[in-house]
Amino acid sequence: MGNQKTIRLLDENGLRVDGRRWDELRPIKMEVGILDKADGSAYIEHGKNKILAALYGPREAHPKHIALADRAVVRCRYHMAPFSTEERKSPAPSRREQELSKVIRESLEPSIMSEYYPRTTIDIFIEVLQADAGTRCAGITAASLALADAGIPMRELVAACAAGKIEGKIVLDLSDVEDKQGEADLPVAFMPKSNVVSLLQMDGGLTEEEFMQALELSTGACRRIYEMQREALKQKYHVAKEETEEKEEAQEVRA
C-alpha cells in the first residue's frame, strides 16, 4: 500500500471530505428482523459501514459450568469479515476484536434484564461486513435492536456514535479517512432514557474543554440515533390498531 497521502480534511467553508458539516451524521439505515434462524436480528448501514447483528437466547448454557445461578450470562462476539477492510483481514480474532467484544458487551449488558433468565446464555453476534470507521458504535446500535427484536426484556435501547477532532476542530461521526488522519476519536454508547453512558473510549489528544464538547456532541447524536431505532422497530411491527379491534369483534359475531 505504501505511504498514504495526507489530504485536507476540512475545506475553506469548514465542510468535510464527504461534504458534511461538523455536526452532521453520515446516512444511516436500519432494518430489524432480517435473519430467519436467529432469535433476533438487525442490519445497519452507517456511512459505508455494513453491519449485521444477531441474537440467540436466552438459551441453555453450554457448557453448563459457565452458567450463573441468578441471571443470564451475556456473551458477545464482535468480528470483522476478512473482506470488510481495505487490506484483507485474517479471519482469526485479533486483539482489537477481543477488546471490542468486551467493551461492546459492557455497553449492552446494563440495558438487559438478565435476572429474568438465570442459568441461561444470551449470545450477541456482531459481524462487520464492510468497515468504514465507527464499527463498534454501529454494531452496538444494531445489537440493541437485535435484542429488542428477540423479545429480550430490556430497560431501554442503547444507541452509539463517535465524535472526534480533525484539523483542530471537534466533529461528529468520523469517517475512515478522518479517523486515520484525525487527532482524536471518541466512541460513546448512550442510553437516552436514563441519560447514562455505557461505553466511553478515547484515543488521540484533547484538552478538557475539547473533550466536554465532543462528549456533548456524541451524546446528542445518540439521541437522534435512538429515535431511528424506535422507528425501525415500528416499521417492522406496524399495526393498524383500531381496525384490528373492530374486525376482531365483527368476526366474533359471525363465527
Binding site: V73, R96, Q98, E106, M202, G205, L206, L215
Partner: protein, 271 residues
C-alpha cells in the same frame, strides 16, 4: 467471545461494608476518595532487559520490561520505529488468573497502556528509524502483573513508563547502509510522560485508585490518561455499570489534576 464474568467471591455483607464506608466518604484503608495508595517505582531490576521498572501500588505489584530489537517497519509508516505492548496476568498474581493465552482482561490492559504511550507520542518513533522502509527498532513493552490488589491499569502504565525511561540502548549510526552500534549507551527518545488515572464508581460515589475489594463492588471504572501538557490522550470505561455525563466530566477534571502529582512522583523515582 466476551462473556459476563463469574460471580464475585466476595460475600454480600463484605460488599456492603465497602459501600457503606464509601457513602460516608471513607474507605477500607482510611484513604480519602481521591488518594492513591503509597507507591514505589524501582527501575532497573532486570539487567538483561533494555529497561525495566517494578511498581508497588499498595499491595499490587507489576513489573514491566522493555526489549529493543530490530525489525521491519509497517508499510504505512516506513520511517518510524514500532511500539508493541503486551500484558500478562500470570496465575501466581491472583487465584482468579488462569494459565493460557491472553484473555480479554489482559488484552484490554495492554491496549489501554499502549494507547496512553502511543497517543501521547511518548516515544519519538521517528528517531528509531534505521533505514527507511527497510529496518527500524521495535520497542517491546511487556507488562507482568505479579500481585493483583486492584488498579492494574494505573500500576501497569506507571511500570511501562518507568521501564521506557529506564531503558538504554546502544547508540547507533548507519554507515554505507549498514547498522553499526557504538559502545555508548543512550536512552530511548522519550518526549512525553503519559499518566493513567483510574476512578471507580461505587454506588453514587467515585474513588481513585480502587483496591481489589473496591473493584469487586464497583459498578464501573473510568481510566483517563493525560500527557505532560494536560491533554487527555486515552480513555477507557470498563465494567457493567453506567456513568452520567456529569460524573464523566467530574472524573476527567479530577484525573487531569491528579495526573500532575503522579507524574512528578514517578519522574522523581525513575529519572
Amino acid at each position: 467471545m466476551s462473556a459476563t464474568h463469574q460471580i464475585s467471591p466476595v460475600a454480600k455483607i463484605e460488599q456492603k461494608t465497602v459501600v457503606d464506608l464509601i457513602v460516608r466518604g471513607r474507605r477500607l484503608d482510611e484513604r480519602n476518595p481521591l488518594d492513591y495508595r503509597p507507591f514505589t517505582v524501582t527501575p532497573g531490576m532486570v539487567e538483561k532487559a533494555n529497561g525495566s521498572a517494578q511498581v508497588y501500588l499498595g499491595k499490587t505489584k507489576v513489573l514491566a520490561g522493555v526489549k529493543i530489537q530490530t525489525g521491519d517497519p509497517f508499510e504505512d509508516t516506513p520511517n518510524e520505529g514500532i511500539l508493541t505492548v503486551n500484558a500478562e496476568l500470570v496465575p501466581l498474581a491472583s487465584p482468579s488468573f488462569e494459565a493460557g493465552p491472553p484473555d480479554e482482561n489482559s488484552i484490554e490492559l495492554a491496549r489501554v497502556v499502549d494507547r496512553g504511550i502511543r497517543e501521547s507520542k511518548a516515544i519519538d518513533l521517528k528517531k528509531l528509524c534505521i533505514q527507511p522502509g527497510k529496518k527500524v527498532f521495535v520497542v517491546f513493552v511487556d507488562i507482568y502483573v505479579l500481585d493483583h490488589d486492584g488498579n492494574l491499569i494505573d500500576a501497569s502504565a506507571t511500570a511501562a513508563l518507568g521501564a521506557l525511561i529506564n531503558a538504554k540502548m546502544n547508540a547507533f549510526e548507519v554507515k554505507d547502509g549498514e547498522l553499526k552500534y557504538k559502545d555508548e549507551l543512550v536512552p530511548l527518545p522519550i518526549q512525553n510522560y503519559p499518566v493513567a488515572i483510574s476512578s471507580a464508581k461505587i454506588d453514587s460515589s467515585v474513588v481513585l485508585d480502587p483496591c481489589l475489594e473496591e473493584e469487586q463492588v464497583m459498578s464501573c471504572r473510568l481510566t483517563v490518561t493525560t500527557d505532560k501538557n494536560d491533554n487527555v490522550c486515552a480513555m477507557q470505561k470498563g465494567g457493567l455499570g453506567v456513568l452520567t455525563v456529569d460524573e464523566i466530566k467530574q472524573i476527567v477534571s479530577t484525573s487531569i489534576n491528579k495526573s500532575k502529582d503522579l507524574r512528578a512522583t514517578i519522574l522523581s523515582k525513575v529519572a
